[in-house]
């Protein structure tokens, strides 16, 4: 464990670490672009210059191994001057159209210029013109002029995904990132290149020009896309969620996440959500507040249990809810209603153990392990055949389903609705509306529930690692979590003072929208 002095501060780093890692460990600032902790060292931006005592020439911190007793600084005049010029060199051919650029606000070049540069530029020559708005593939757009050739994206494609779609073509200041025609940037991890791009050269087609980043807030979350449980940040404003980015966790996802996981914000947004509870059956639905819908469903369930005994009610759970919700729901059903018929709806059993070798898993539920643990605790022995037999034999009169939050990963949605609708009563908790449900033949309660971004909780990932996440924002304030639903089903009142309020959506002037003709 070498000990070294960085800007006068003692730091201890693991053997083999570089000076830049020591800087990060010591919490001090160092200017850099091309170095990324998840990639190999390229050493091409030449900005992480440091002065090492005893070495006359400045060294780059990313390729210099930290040795015991080293005295390093990056606040001497010489280093500052070099970094300043290094930034100037970066900006020579970089267009200064920050207002148009989508990266503005989270741009490495902007940030570091303000921190380390801030000089009077002397460049008065024509900038090199390169291609703009290059379509790299289904997800990413390239602006070559903005590229500072840090080579992070090419290294990512070479080292992490090993697909090598991107290359740096030509040489000198005509170098351009690009793809070979016919080989687009098309894998499940493309948007990581957008994340690691320190400038606005690579932008995501999905997010590009949709929002300025300074309007967005971010909150920690866990990706609900598959059982890997990548640690993510969701970016949102009062209009809803706009994108999902990975958060570093070396134990789970490292620095990356997959493109599939990045789409999980979409069904959370208000236009895709079930906003009110719906009670009724095919073609005749009555809307009511989620709270009322749940209460009436609870009363019906009690009736069924009273009349036909607890065997007549079945509870079907999907692996898309938090451990806390499972617990609360099971407490009510197992101890309250004395239910034994508890089943685990597995969406794609044949693909459950698929793995692409990097992050993405075939089990598209974030909390299968958590659900299994909860079921075990509840003593459930529910086998799917029993449910089927019970439904066919009309023994089961009511089915309660904690339906999938993300219906797109449940290809058997129609089939299962038809199956459960054989019972007379169907209580279905769902975050999004579903055509299958709207065609249900049983008397059905569609009760809107919160999505992962709207509640705090814990997911247990495929490793059995429990990952807590906080509430990020509230999109549908009236929707319930399963824990709340369990309370309401039991006939209790919710504490309305504690419930989240609506965020108001887009700002409106009442004067122009509500006041009509004078």
């Amino acid at each position: 464990m070498p000990k070294l002095k960085i800007n006068g501060k003692d730091v201890e780093v693991p053997a083999g670490a570089t000076i830049i890692q020591a800087y990060k460990a010591s919490g001090q600032d160092i200017c850099h672009y091309c170095w990324h902790p998840g990639l190999s060292v390229a050493g091409v931006c030449r900005l992480c210059m440091v002065q090492v005592e005893g070495i006359p020439k400045l060294q780059i911190a990313c390729n210099t191994e930290a040795k015991d007793g080293m005295v390093v600084n990056n606040n001497s005049e010489m280093v500052k001057e070099t970094v300043k010029w290094g930034l100037d060199f970066h900006l020579i051919n970089h267009p200064l159209d920050c207002p148009i650029c989508d990266q503005a606000g989270e741009c490495g070049l902007q940030d570091q210029y303000m921190q380390f540069g801030a000089y009077d530029p002397e460049m008065a020559e024509q900038k090199v013109k390169k291609s703009k708005v290059v379509d790299l593939g289904p997800t990413v757009v390239l602006d070559s002029e903005r590229c500072i050739l840090c080579s992070r994206c090419t290294r990512f494609c070479d080292e992490v995904t090993k697909t090598s779609e991107l290359g740096i073509f030509n040489r000198g200041d005509h170098s351009e990132i690009g793809i070979v025609e016919g080989k687009p940037l098309n894998n499940n991890y493309t948007l990581n290149t957008v994340d690691i791009c320190p400038v606005g050269a690579l932008t995501s087609k999905d997010f590009r020009f949709r929002q300025r980043v300074w309007y967005l807030k971010e909150a920690d979350s866990i990706c609900p896309g598959c059982s890997t449980g990548c640690n993510v940040k969701v970016h949102y404003n009062e209009e809803g969620l706009w994108r999902v980015k990975p958060r570093v966790n070396p134990d789970v996802n490292g620095h990356w996440m997959c493109d599939v996981g990045r789409n999980t914000y979409k069904y959370v947004n208000i236009k895709n959500r079930l906003l009110a509870g719906k009670v009724g059956r095919r073609d005749s639905w009555m809307e009511m507040s989620p709270n009322d819908a749940t209460r009436t469903a609870g009363m019906r369930l009690k009736d069924v249990v009273d009349k036909h005994g607890p065997e007549s009610v079945a509870l079907v759970l999907t692996g898309q809810y938090t451990n806390e919700e499972y617990k609360d729901l099971l407490v009510y059903f197992v101890t309250g209603l004395k239910l034994k018929n508890i089943f685990h709806w597995v969406n794609n059993p044949e693909k459950l153990n698929d793995f692409d070798g990097l992050l993405f898993r075939g089990d598209r539920n974030p909390n299968t392990k958590g659900l299994e643990a909860a079921l075990k605790l509840a003593g459930s022995k529910g086998r799917w055949e029993d449910l089927q037999a019970g439904l066919n034999g009309k023994k089961i009169k009511a089915v309660v389903v904690a339906g999938p939050e993300d219906q797109s990963v449940y290809p058997d949605m129609n089939e299962k609705v038809a199956l459960f609708a054989q019972a007379d009563n169907l209580v279905w908790f769902t975050a999004c509306p579903s055509d299958a449900l709207n065609g249900s033949g049983a008397e059905t309660w569609q009760i809107p529930v919160k999505t992962h971004a709207e509640k705090a909780g814990t997911f247990t990932n495929f490793q059995g690692k429990e990952q807590k996440f906080p509430l990020a924002t509230t999109i549908v304030p009236q929707a319930l979590t399963l824990s709340e639903a369990a309370e309401v089903l039991a006939g209790k009142e919710l504490n309305w003072a504690l419930r989240p309020k609506s965020l108001g959506g887009a700002k409106n002037n009442y004067a122009t929208t509500e006041r009509g003709a004078l």
Partner: protein, 425 residues
Amino acid sequence: MQQTKLLSEHYDKPEFQNLDGYKKHGGYAVLAKALKMDPKAIIEEVKASGLRGRGGAGFPTGTKWSFLPANGEPRYLLCNADEGEPGTFKDRLMMERAPHQLIEGMIISAFAIGSKKSYIYIRGEYDYSIACVRKAIDEAYKAGLLGKNILGSGFDHDMDVYAGAGAYICGEETGMISSIEGLKGQPKLKPPFPAVQGYLRKPTIVNNVETLAAVKYIIRDGAAAYRKYGTEKSPGTKLFSVSGNVTKPGNIEVPLGISLKDMIEMCGGLKPGRKLKAVIPGGSSAPVLTADEAMKATMDYECLAQMGSMLGSGAVIIIDDSNSMVDLLDVIMHFYHHESCGQCTPCREGTGWLSKIVHRILKGDGEPKDIDLIKKVSEQMMGKTICALSDAAAMPAISFVTKFRGEFEQHLQKARTTSGGVAHA
């Protein structure tokens, strides 16, 4: 003054290109001698001779060889024949006139460092050289001088030619390694140095054509005999490529330490009626010498280093007073702009910037602050990048504008007066 012909002794004999002709002049006798020696003794001999790399950096060859780690990993010997430095043409001549001399030197060197495979990386433009060396290697294989069990010594060695495809940067040793590995010829980060992790991350020695050929003569005559030529710190002879405004430009072989004045005379002197203006003593990346400095200079590593220039690859470009220094700097800067590999930012952007400023001055759009700007930009490019191309571009820029500042200022003056007296503020 006469040339001291050691390496170039038989250049003018056409039969020297073939194995038979080469053997007639004592070819491969030294190899037989070397293969009986202890490899360590060869390295010691080369160390004792004080031979310094002839490619440009002038690093002592024996010392370089001793950096190889003592492990069982396969080692590679790469011969750098990517002679791209403007003004240099010594290696091309050797490969065309005496390819076996190079091959013999390489086998000896490979034996010394224990390498079983070597490559000669020749720049793609040298089509004829590639053909000559390929032919010579085939001859050597047929004669049992390459392949398994060379001359019954038990030493195996394979040699191949790898043709480049036009990139100055592949003359840099790690750039060349990248190129042979089939990548873009971009230099690699150091450390690790090639002697530790080079070609395919295995220990690798990269030497210039002339260096490897000289090894043969050191083993033939012994280190002491080699040291008789040249100066104390720069021993031996060196091939100089003299070009520019002299009447008889060409390759000459002279001991190091000869005065530049003599060298110009050996090449027939300047054209009648012309005055010496400047000399670039070591290829276009070497800082320029003024006429006064040139008259005092001796051609060895130390003297030129003292004068703030360098011996480089031994490409001496004589510039007389018919040339405009601004024009020449424009040519040189265009070259470096064209050849920057685009990896490190200061070089990628700096070479382009310098080229644009100098071109602007040349075209008459210069501004008074441009001269200082050239200097500032160049200083910030020095020693800030992975390889030395950035320095190679910065050094001539700085030396041109400081030593010939007057000429640059004149150009600015002229620009202002010719554009109707309107100053470009």
